[in-house]
Amino acid sequence: MSFFKKLKEKLTTSTQEVSQKFTEGLTKTRDGFASAVNDLVYRFREVDEDFFDELEDLLIQADVGVTTTMDLVEDLKEEVKRRNLKDPVAVRDALVEVVAKRLQEDESDRELNMQDGLTVILFVGVNGVGKTTTIGKLAHQLKSEGRSVMLAAGDTFRAGAIEQLQVWGERVGVPVIRQTEGSDPAAVVFDAVQAAKSRNMDVLICDTAGRLQNKVNLMKELEKVKRVIEREVPNGPHEVLLALDATTGQNAMVQAKAFKEATNVSGIVLTKLDGTAKGGIVLAIRNELDIPVKYVGLGEKIDDLQEFDPEQFVLGLFGDVFEDKNEGALTEKEDTNEDLA
């Protein structure tokens, strides 16, 4: 089956599945991006160097980053040559295909690595990206799937951090293991693991203080927290999730690399995608690092967390483009031709 048929089918059969929230959250992103692509496509009658230059700008504007953008556009050029594509609409479709492929590479492991016994999930990331909030949302999700969940208040540093997690614990209705501000995070996590074991919990989610990746001592502290989990739980931690703010620019890549090195990050949560930031960094991360994106954050409320589905993401990102192609686009293009004739 051709790629577009498959996507079209997915589009029609899974429209209902494509959750309302996800679509809503991505509307901004998609509208901005898709309409820019459309603008681009209609402004150029022929696919020439200028076209690709503009396309480059578009991707860079979405925080995809220079390197990945160049790669992507290079691929696209090749594809255009190989298929002997001439008109911009066909090129646009090739763009969608290339992007989707990139995002689908690691389809296999975007689900959480859940254990039969205790599953321990460790959250890491720089300051203010949304770790604690995501923990609240994830706890809610796991609990509503029928699992028993416990939270560990491993951020003992930032003012009000423990209380913040406590509020989330109450909202979700799960216990929070905490010590006083300023205590050793590794000790809190140790306590929490013991508590989770003795209370037969399914999942323990550990919060940690935000830290910038260039702070050597803080990264060491994080390694220590992870070691405690390794020692106390077989094969733990089963997930190390890195929270990345979708608003972040190229530094997100540096973050991903540093946290991966320190804690062997197993997945990424891309937060704040409900803003106007395009989240193009996902492409760069897929391209340059071997870490799958597992979730996206789409707001501050308890159910504003969605599993990252690359196809949904592409559909969301390029939804209008598809509709155009299958319905309006051709007529529009014919119109243009007539106008010019």
Binding site: G128, A161, V216, T247, G275, E300
Partner: protein, 446 residues
């Protein structure tokens, strides 16, 4: 993966051109391409980059870059100047109200650093301007936001005005201003909830608060790691509220911080402060030319030097500098340096300010674990006076003795000596770079 700085980029472009004699206009174009890429990698918005590169190109062609023997340096200089100019020429102080209290409103996206900066600013205002600040907890949405501000208030021993999270921000602010007047607080800082610039309802709330509070300053707090979207955020907040200044947070990280340029370009509002850490004294005035260096990947040398200067005894610094120059640095100096360095704060923070720190072999090998300083000290103290002054005599049997004496392993001793050698090499390099500088500066390169 630190990105290549502009200097390195131009260097490699120029080396490709070398041997062709003079630089052509096409070569200038090629260099401008490098400027463009460097700025994009630094997260400057692509539209801002376009405009900027056009301006620079004009200057570059107009001036004698093409005839210059060092066209790369010339371009870096022009770019640096233009960047600094664009970001403002001088440090812009807080504007105080004629009639107290002065009111400052903090606004911005979620997690940008508003609450932390509110605490830092209150601290600074009290210390430097001798005012009596009142912190106002107007974030009723984020879990434990009030508690966070109250904790900061307690740490600073400053009052926090709060009516809990069941009262509207408008009302909180109204009451807070009354409270400030009756209690003689002449500086009021309003911490608002983080919000998306496209959230009509919450942006409307800020407009209401503004109407009530009539703030002297509305500070947009922006995360320095922000990417291309910074222009949209800054533009919306500015359009709705008319921001009077910007605070750039988390600059203690390793981001290039190109957002600074984007924000300045779209709002015209001056960047007034930068956040350099989570602690409550980590707020400093914004320096455009330092930011320019940083965006261009030239390292925040000036900040490092300033930090070193304030911490180091001037005479000791001079002496050290001459030692660095002629590379007569010994283990005795080293141990003295250790003491200095310990006074200066976290070493990794200092190192991250060094230009190209990531690339220097000598630096990479140096362990930055603070606890290890004690081990290093123990090792050096186990050396004889003669050995300390003449490290080259440290043969295998001496090393073994030192290891025993200090209770550290022989490998550690070897490593330290190796690092010391590396460092000396590095000092030689650096002293070459420092020769151009007027002032006598001692940099404790540990």
């Amino acid at each position: 993966m630190a990105f290549e700085g502009l200097s390195e980029r131009l260097q490699s472009t120029l080396s490709k051109m070398r041997g062709k004699g003079k630089i052509s206009e096409a070569d200038v174009k090629e260099m401008m391409r490098e400027v463009r890429l460097a700025l994009l990698e630094a997260d400057v918005n692509f539209k801002v980059v376009k405009q900027f590169v056009n301006d620079v190109k004009e200057r570059a062609v107009g001036q004698d870059v093409m005839k210059s023997l060092t066209p790369g340096q010339q371009v870096v200089k022009i770019v640096h100047e233009e960047l600094s100019n664009l970001m403002g020429s001088d440090v812009v102080p807080i504007s105080f109200s004629q009639k107290p209290p002065t009111v400052v409103m903090m606004v911005g996206l979620q997690g940008a650093g508003k609450t932390t900066t509110t605490g830092k600013l209150a601290n600074l205002i009290r210390k430097k301007h001798n005012r009596s600040p009142l912190l106002v907890a107007a974030d009723i949405y984020r879990p434990a936001a009030i508690k966070q501000l109250e904790t900061l208030g307690k740490q600073l021993d400053l009052p926090v005005f709060s009516l809990g999270d069941q009262v509207k921000p408008e009302e909180i602010v109204t009451k807070a201003l009354e409270y400030a007047k009756t209690n003689h607080h002449d500086f009021v800082l309003i911490d608002t909830a983080g919000r998306l610039h496209i959230d009509e309802t919450l942006m409307g709330e800020l407009e209401n608060v503004k109407t009530i509070a009539k703030p002297n300053e509305i500070f947009l707090v922006v995360d320095s790691m922000t990417g291309q979207d910074a222009v949209n955020v800054a533009d919306s907040f500015n359009e709705k509220l008319g921001i009077t200044g910007v605070v750039l947070t988390k600059l203690d990280g390793d981001t290039r911080g190109g957002a600074a340029l984007s924000i300045k370009a779209v709002t015209g509002a001056p960047i007034k402060f930068v956040g350099l850490g989570e602690k409550l004294d980590a707020l400093e005035p914004f320096h455009p030319e330092r930011m320019a260096s940083r965006i261009l990947g030239m390292g925040d040398v000036l900040s490092l030097i300033e930090k070193a200067e304030t911490q180091m005894d001037q005479d000791a610094a001079k002496e050290l500098e001459s030692k660095i120059r002629d590379a007569s640095f010994t283990f005795d100096d080293f141990i003295e340096q250790l003491a200095q360095v310990k006074n200066m704060g976290p070493i990794d923070e200092l190192l991250s300010m060094l230009p190209g720190a990531g690339k220097m072999k000598g630096l990479k090998n140096v362990q930055i674990d603070e606890k290890q300083l004690d081990h290093v000290e123990a090792i050096i103290r186990s050396m004889t006076k003669h050995e300390r002054a003449n490290p080259e005599v440290l043969n295998a049997s001496r090393r073994k003795r030192i290891a025993k004496g200090s209770g550290r392993s022989i490998q550690e001793v070897n490593r330290l000596i190796k690092q010391f050698d590396d460092m000396k090499k590095m000092m030689k390099q650096m002293s070459g770079q420092m020769k151009g500088k007027k002032k006598g500066l001692g940099l404790p390169f540990f």
